[in-house]
């Protein structure tokens, strides 16, 4: 048994004693190359697409400049799968083991994670690998260009799922349900018996087709998979695979601050109480901890971003300190980042941490705008709404098969970036294979219609 295995076993015993609750975790030591790929793809084996290649190079560049150090990647499930970097020190990896247990506890109990778990099963790593395999088969059968065309569209719409909706969803009802005849009250019965009153005209027989979509449809991946007029089965499959992975990524995205904070809280606590760790190892691990949760790069006094590890960690410490562990566990179960930040990031903590809202104006001048707590919360949450994507819905499918998308600019506050939106429409058009148009507004708030 290596030292690390010994520590890991001991840390796990301690975690159980402290009441942590999680599915078993499979740890694997992996080389830097795999860790980089996981950071880029989000999953150890995922479908091929050229856009990942671009991210891959960016990640390599960042790593070579020392801007990005990967400690661990953890995939919730039953069992959870965790990858540790084989080149990190034992101290770092002991810290990471504790950290991963925090994630494991979080993902078993948080309702968003639990919901995905119940919809898509407990092994996303294998599910995604199976997707990748099916896409590989599709490439062999239909050629890389055709598969790429589908992935261009599906991955561009990756975030456009209905985040509150179901993973497995049936098509819209085809017909409008006939309206129930209203119950006849005593008065109406007597009234109809009066002489000289005609019976009301009977409604026409037959069913009425429901319009598609019956309401604005924000689950674009689902909608295209189900209603694109000329989509082949394997193409539809690709859309649904991308959609499934998006459902997996959503809880990770929407609970990032909570989840990283919770894991940081637990790694700090487990290490603090781990009297079995040799002193030097404990010190290096605590040093690694403070590097992870520090708010700014060393030697700087301000940061134009908030380190989620730091923020989550501070909020959790405060909750545990003020309200006790039981309350903290309840918060872990019930909230996502929106509730977490709005309910638990209070003025006092914001003040202590020196949080602020900044404004960048054209010309790149950046000023501190306000320290108002409500504004701080919204500034933190703004990039997280709606899976970080503008709200775009399918609103009309015409008889000729043409599709109309509408951007809810009222909710988003401004229009779409037209150049990019046009390119996305082109991607969509190549799989929809009928005219596709999109309505949004320009910077003068006038409606603009893009078409492809």
């Amino acid at each position: 048994m290596t030292d690390l295995e010994l520590y890991a076993t001991q840390i796990e015993e301690l975690a159980k004693r402290l009441g942590m609750d999680y599915y078993p975790v499979d740890f694997e030591l992996a080389p830097a190359s795999l860790m980089t790929e996981i950071a880029v793809y989000g999953l150890p084996v995922r479908m091929p697409h050229w856009s990942f290649g671009v991210r891959y190079i960016h990640q390599l560049v960042r790593q070579s400049m020392g801007h990005s150090k990967i400690f661990e990647v953890m995939f919730p499930g039953d069992p959870c799968r965790a990858f540790l970097m084989d080149s990190n020190s034992d101290a770092e990896n002991a810290l990471v083991t504790a950290h991963v247990l925090g994630h494991a506890d979080f993902s078993k109990n948080n309702q968003l994670f639990a919901r995905f778990h119940s919809m898509a099963g407990a092994n996303i790593v294998e599910t995604a690998a199976a997707h990748a395999h099916r896409i590989q088969l599709a490439i062999e059968a239909h050629g890389v260009e055709r598969v790429e065309q589908v992935l261009d569209a599906a991955l561009a719409l990756e975030s456009h799922i209905a985040i509150d909706g179901e993973l497995h969803r049936s098509r819209y009802p085809e017909f409008i349900e006939p309206k129930q005849a209203p119950l006849r009250s005593d008065f109406q019965q007597r009234f109809s018996q009066l002489p000289g009153v005609d019976a009301p005209a009977k409604p026409k027989a037959g069913q009425v087709r429901a319009p598609v979509p019956p309401h604005s449809e924000y689950d674009l991946l689902w909608f295209i998979a189900n209603y694109a007029p000329d989509l082949e089965q394997w193409e539809r499959d690709i859309f649904l695979m991308v959609r499934c992975e998006s459902f997996y990524f959503y809880p990770v995205f929407a609970c990032q601050i909570m989840n990283e904070g919770w894991a940081s809280y637990w790694h700090a606590r487990l290490l603090r109480e781990a009297d079995f760790l040799p002193q030097p190892l404990y010190l290096s691990a605590i040093k690694a901890h403070s590097d992870v949760v520090r708010p700014f790069a060393s030697g700087q006094e301000t940061a134009l971003a908030i380190n989620p590890y730091y923020l989550g960690f501070s909020i959790w410490e405060r909750i545990v300190q003020k309200h006790g562990m039981d309350r903290a566990r309840q918060v872990r179960t019930e909230e996502d980042d929106f509730g977490f930040i709005r309910n638990w990031l209070d003025e006092e903590l914001a003040e202590e941490s020196g949080l602020f809202v900044y404004e960048a104006r054209p010309g790149d001048e950046i000023r501190v705008a306000t320290k108002d707590i409500a504004s701080i919360r919204e500034a933190i949450l703004a990039p997280k709404f709606n899976f970080g994507a503008p709200r775009v819905a399918a609103v009309e499918l015409k008889h000729d098969g043409s599709l109309t998308l509408k951007h809810d600019h009222g909710n988003d506050g401004r229009g779409l970036d037209v150049t990019r939106a046009k390119r996305v429409l082109e991607y969509v058009n190549r799989v929809w294979r009928r005219p596709v148009k999109l309505v949004t507004v320009n910077d003068r708030d006038e409606n603009v219609e893009l078409a492809a």
Binding site: T2, L29, V368, R420
Partner: protein, 390 residues
């Protein structure tokens, strides 16, 4: 709990998914670069320059997503010392903005793809499925050429093949059982029978030199865009011809009311406010052919780009001289530039003249260039007609 460290090569070491997708991206970049080639290539004086590569700065391809347009004032959450109103980062001076433009953004990385023109042209020929040109086979053009063919025991001293001769000597020694071949000290003895002389045979071969005469109308009515199109066409026509001939020489003639010869660097800059007299340049071309590039010894190609407007009184003169050219050259191409896409109410004078000449069966082709895409069509048309005419 167990921490797995597998001893065998783990699955993920077998290949890199990141590298695979990166290669695919690069493939797409190259395709994208090729789409903009005509424009890139027309940018520089590449026709006659010896070092024939173009460096193309490329950005990463972006996989677009729906995104909100940039807000006037961007907000974000930050942390650290600072009170409302404090400046965290001063704005840029107006002057800086220039240098920054285009290169900023979140860590945007650019790289340069260096492409060899020959490679590009090879690719184009494949892509456009253009036929290869053949030198014209007219008897008068055939230059007799001596070709080595075989050896003989007798011949002029100057054609002695030393290597062959030595081989014969070695063979003879071996046959005679004289196995004790010494290294350097004792030279192999030669007898007359060992001598081998190269034989030459006289063979007619088609001329492999070509001369390409580019004529450009630089009168006031030819604007920048039209010249650019002409330049692009000229460039690719020349590349195509270069693929075929061992030696290609170029002549650049520009004209308005008069015609002059230029070198390439000045050729596309030349401009004149005078009227347009086509016969002037045609006569100059004839003169060049007469003095330097005799069509009986060179494969001469003549390309003429103009907006088609020629002085009315020059019509007959122009027609006469152009017919003279068409009779002597391998091919004469007329490229008419300008015009709003396909909206052309009537043929221009030059278009009519060239149509007439073509009617007489001379190797003449005409194309109309209104946009970049037409360049490809014109190139394809030129090379297919040219190949069919043989």
């Amino acid at each position: 709990m167990a921490i797995r460290i597998s001893a065998e090569t783990p699955w993920y070491d077998l290949f890199s998914r990141g590298a695979r997708d990166w290669l695919r991206h690069n493939q797409k970049v190259r395709e994208a670069v090729k789409d903009t080639l005509p424009d890139l290539l027309a940018g520089a004086d590449l026709m006659t320059r010896p070092n024939r590569t173009v460096a193309v700065p490329v950005k990463f391809l972006e996989h677009s997503r729906f995104r909100l347009s940039d807000a006037q004032v961007q907000q974000g959450a930050g942390q650290g010392k600072g009170e409302p109103g404090d400046v965290l980062q001063p704005g840029r001076e107006e002057g800086d903005q220039q240098g920054q433009a285009g290169g900023t953004g979140d860590g945007e990385i650019r790289f340069v793809v260096e492409l060899k023109i020959d490679e590009i042209v090879d690719w184009l020929w494949e892509e456009l499925k253009l036929p290869e040109l053949k030198p014209k086979r007219i008897n008068t053009m055939d230059q007799p050429e001596y070709i080595r063919e075989g050896w003989d025991k007798r011949g002029a001293r100057s054609r002695l093949d030393r290597r062959r001769t030595m081989k014969e000597a070695v063979k003879r020694h071996a046959v005679q059982g004289n196995t004790a071949l010494k290294e350097d000290d004792e030279p192999l003895s030669l007898i007359n029978d060992d001598l081998r002389f190269r034989q030459l045979v006289k063979r007619p071969s088609p001329a492999t030199s070509a001369a390409v005469i580019f004529a450009l109308d630089v009168s006031g009515s030819m604007d920048e865009a039209q010249r650019r199109l002409a330049k692009q066409f000229f460039f690719f026509a020349l590349q195509g011809i270069r693929r075929q001939y061992a030696k290609v020489e170029t002549v650049f003639l520009a004209h308005a009311a008069q015609a002059w010869e230029f070198d390439e660097s000045q050729f596309f800059q030349a401009s004149s406010s005078g009227g347009t007299v086509t016969s002037s340049v045609a006569r100059l071309a004839l003169e060049v052919m007469g003095t330097r590039y005799d069509p009986s010894r060179y494969n001469v190609y003549f390309f003429y780009a103009s907006d088609g407007e020629n002085a009315a009184e020059d019509r007959d003169e122009a027609r006469g001289t152009l017919v003279d050219i068409a009779k002597q050259v391998n091919y004469a191409g007329y490229i008419e530039t300008g015009g709003v896409a396909s909206f052309r109410p009537r043929d221009t004078q030059l278009a009519e003249i060239f149509a007439e000449i073509k009617g007489t069966g001379l190797p003449v082709g005409t194309s109309h260039l209104a946009s970049q895409d037409d360049v490809w069509n014109a190139i394809r048309q030129f090379f297919t007609e040219q190949a069919a005419g043989e």
